[in-house]
Amino acid sequence: MTPISVTGLSVHYRDRPALLDINWSAQPGLTAIIGPNGAGKSTLLKAMLGLVPSEGETRFFGSTLEAARDRLGYLPQRQSVDWDFPATALDVVAMARRARSGWWGRLPRAEREAARHALSEVGLAELADRPIGELSGGQQQRVFLARALAQNAELLLMDEPLAAVDAATERTIIDVLKRLAKAGRSVVAVHHDLASVPQIFEHALLLNGRVIAAGPVAQVFTPATIADTYGPGLAA
């Protein structure tokens, strides 16, 4: 079943188009969304998830966002929240379990344990009770990854999971991505480092306000399409 299919999706900020008539289907496995700054990569993720207003239609596993909500996970950009918020790493990851436990009362112990398990998967078991403001940038990124894992989703949408992280965090995140793929989960990630695309991802979407190319990395990740996406000069 196709994890995502997008038909005629457009986004306008004020009168300026950010994305124009996107038609795209994500295949199972690991997919990178690449393109220059301002190409609309994050906007595409948010539009598909209904976080910014858009025209067109997005289907997840053939159904609407509302119906597929429990099968989706999301990892936003780290800078999208205030890390001085009074919470521990475990508190943040535990928020992912609210979707199934409901919004009344205390979080059941089993749900909190599931959150703790997700933290151990990203190597942060010992830092579970540390305030998030005291974590390094890479550790904060792993907390967000753990929160996405705790959603136990079939499809994860990630916004620059590897941006500005230390080497240890990068290794952890790539390991987790590969484990997810092996377990039959799909990941669609906005990615900025062209060099590592073929090592990590199986599919790519080259984006610059519109779809430049999409498909298996071996076929679509070519000097010609990269030049089309970024303009001449980068493809060499």
Partner: protein
């Protein structure tokens, strides 16, 4: 000598402080302090209009509930204006808040001087709503304010997980199935209720401090939300109680100022404790 009326008023102020501490936690984390200030100031013309309407209809203008209802409606109108102004995209929220706060307050002050010249309306003692005068509260007023405060506290506790998710990461919460708009409106409603409940005792000029000071004090002392919430309630309750007692002891001191200065002392102590 502390009379029955004073005890009831002090208890009312304590309940108000606890509720302000509870709601203030989330108002602070969501960055709503200035909006609270605007709503507090915007309430004045509503209170004045309610008193004039009451006088025209021959009601007891000293009765608190109609005045507070008028204040709440005007506060809502102020909030609506801020949102309409920012929706234009030409005026940023800080400017919209300043504009609404000043305009509504100015309208309230003019209304006040009109109402003052009208004996039936002037009996409402409207000027006490500006700086707060707990000593002028009757026992039933304190009960009304206390009941409103208790309602705020219970609602905040019930919505705790929702409010926490909203304040930390609204987009993620929305994807988890939380109705962000409704939760945000509920938080603004709670802030408005605290502002309105605080009008007679603390006054509209200073009621925002009652929302901010306990929460900021608690935030200095802890890095977890449940303990911040508890500490904020305690600090708010302490400021309300002590401020009301001090104001009652020195009858000339406006209660709002006494409550806020007590809260400021607690905040300063927390700052020093953090350094030490």
């Amino acid at each position: 000598m502390i009379g029955h009326n004073t005890i009831v008023v002090v208890l009312g102020c304590a309940a108000l402080g606890i509720a302000a501490g509870a709601v203030g936690c989330f108002a602070l984390l969501r960055g709503r302090a200035l909006l609270a200030d605007a709503m507090g100031h915007a309430a004045l013309p509503g209170v004045v209009l309610a008193a004039m309407l009451g006088a025209a209809l021959g009601w007891d203008t000293r009765s608190l509930p109609p005045l507070l209802l008028g204040g709440a409606l005007a506060g809502l109108a102020g909030l609506w204006c801020v949102q309409r102004l920012t929706a234009t995209g030409r005026i940023r929220q800080d400017a919209a808040i300043a504009l609404v706060l000043a305009s509504f307050y100015a309208a309230g002050v003019v209304g006040l001087s009109i109402a003052q010249a009208w004996p039936a309306a002037s009996q409402a003692g409207l000027s006490r709503f500006i700086l707060g005068q707990a000593a002028a509260m009757r026992a039933e007023d304190a009960w009304a304010a206390g009941a409103l405060a208790a309602l705020c506290l219970v609602t905040t506790l019930a919505l705790f997980p929702r409010l926490a998710a909203l304040c930390f990461d609204p987009e993620f919460a929305q994807l988890s199935g939380l109705n962000i708009r409704a939760t945000d409106h509920a938080l603004l409603g709670l802030v408005l209720m605290v502002c309105v409940a605080g009008l007679p005792a603390v006054g509209l000029v200073l009621v925002v401090a009652l929302l901010v000071l306990p929460a900021a004090t608690a935030r200095l002392l802890t890095a977890r939300l449940p303990s911040m919430f508890a500490l904020s309630c305690v600090a708010g309750g302490a400021a309300g109680t002590l401020g009301a007692l001090i104001s009652a002891g020195h009858a000339g001191w406006p209660t709002g100022a006494a409550v806020v200065l007590t809260g400021t002392c607690l905040f300063t102590a927390a700052m020093l404790a953090r350094r030490g």
